[in-house]
């Protein structure tokens, strides 16, 4: 098990909180809520060690489009990068709904 944290600059505030996903095999849960400052913060807990660089690439890609000042908690149980990105997009979509 490994814990990772990342910070990204944000462009707009986040108004509500959103929860998606399950800590099931090959899946993850995402808790997204307003950040306490003007940046976005991501705290990842993952069952698979040694993939910090891959996490950074996936999050770089997500935050290239997402500009919300969100505090995001990710609890991961071995999801592939594609599934991680889909869950993040699902959370962003739920935020807009």
């Amino acid at each position: 098990m490994e814990r990772l944290s990342f910070t990204y600059p944000a462009r707009e505030p986040v108004a509500r909180r959103v929860h998606v996903g399950v800590v099931g095999s090959g899946d993850l849960e995402v808790l997204l809520e307003p950040s306490s400052d003007e940046d976005a913060h991501v705290a990842v807990t993952t069952s698979v060690d040694g993939f910090g660089t891959v996490w950074k690439h996936v999050l770089d890609r997500f935050f290239a489009r997402f500009g919300g000042a969100a505090a995001i908690e990710i609890n991961d149980f071995g999801a592939t990068p594609g599934v991680v990105l889909l869950r993040l997009e699902q959370a962003a979509e739920a935020l807009r709904a």
Binding site: M1, R17, H19, V22, V23, G24, S25, D27, E29, L31, E33, T45, T46, S47, E73, N75, D76, F77
Partner: protein
């Protein structure tokens, strides 16, 4: 499903099994009444799993929701089968027991709340052993106390099923609703194979497992009250119906009848699942 109409009906059916724990609670409660208590943002996580290198889920795999069923106040406790096999730990167990105990207090104050358990669980969480077992005992006690005031309704839909101490909780409920995809048993097939050997039970033989402990067999032998299709609307309708049905003697109080059943079995030559239906189906 040989006809085109049958196929259409199958495809149009909203699956309950495919829903996660939170969506299942929404499907059971009247539309728009779902309100979660002690949800993921309260972060009531297992303190024990991370110590053992296991990632914890923010709600510990149990969703407690208040709302209405047929316009009456209700509480639905739903276990997420995809997280740690729906296992009951210290926190998830406290959420289950707490929901039932609060419903009991309301019932005693003359404000009955309709309690529903959506069970998808392998039983106690082995990493939390005794704490989980203690919580399951509290769940049992709360169900027995609560069912004197209001029917306690359980649904086992699948695909995890309901095993271990939580299968006893299911058996204690006033009304147990199952699907064909559900399984119900004290020991799961893998446990039986590991403890008693392959000759006793081949846990990889899925057809055999479902013939033995599947929802259809459990219903046919009187261990479940309602057999329903995997249809969210049909299951919600059966839950609503359970609160207006005539009260029946709880299964756990039919001790004489159950002992008499055992007497019909020769343990040296156990009956085939189909024969058990004939033997026990009507008793």
């Amino acid at each position: 499903m040989s006809t085109a109409a049958g196929r259409e009906r199958f495809l149009a059916r909203p699956s309950f099994i495919e829903l996660d724990a939170r969506e299942r609670s929404r499907a059971i409660l009247d539309s728009g009444t779902f309100r979660e208590l002690a949800g993921p943002f309260d972060r009531l996580k297992s303190p024990w799993l991370p110590l053992q290198g296991v990632v914890a889920q923010a709600d510990d795999g149990v969703v407690i929701a208040r709302g209405a069923i047929d316009g009456q106040p209700a509480v639905v406790a739903s276990i997420e089968g995809a997280y740690q096999g729906g296992s009951v730990g210290e926190v998830s167990g406290a959420k289950l027991a707490g929901a039932l105990e609060l419903a009991l207090r309301d019932a005693e104050l003359g404000r009955p709340v309709r309690p529903v358990l959506l069970l998808e669980t392998g039983g106690v969480r082995l990493q939390e052993a005794n704490l989980g077992l203690a919580a399951i005992a509290e769940v049992h006690a709360a169900i027995v106390a609560l069912r004197r005031h209001v029917p306690v309704v359980a649904v086992v839909a699948g695909l995890v099923g309901c095993f271990g101490g939580m299968s006893l909780a299911a058996a204690l409920c006033s009304r147990l609703i199952v699907t064909r995809q559900a399984r119900l048993g004290m020991n799961g097939p893998e446990v039986i194979e590991q403890e008693a050997g392959l000759a006793e039970l081949d846990a990889s033989d899925r057809a055999l497992i479902w013939r033995l402990m599947g929802g259809e067999q459990r219903h046919a032998t009187g261990f479940a009250d309602v057999l329903v299709e995997d249809d969210a609307e049909a299951i919600a309708a059966e839950v609503r119906g359970a609160f207006t049905a005539a009260p029946a003697t709880p299964r756990s109080e039919q001790v004489e009848a159950l002992i008499a059943r055992l007497a019909t079995i020769d343990a040296a030559q156990p009956p085939e699942p189909a024969a058990l239906r004939t033997l026990w189906g009507s008793s």
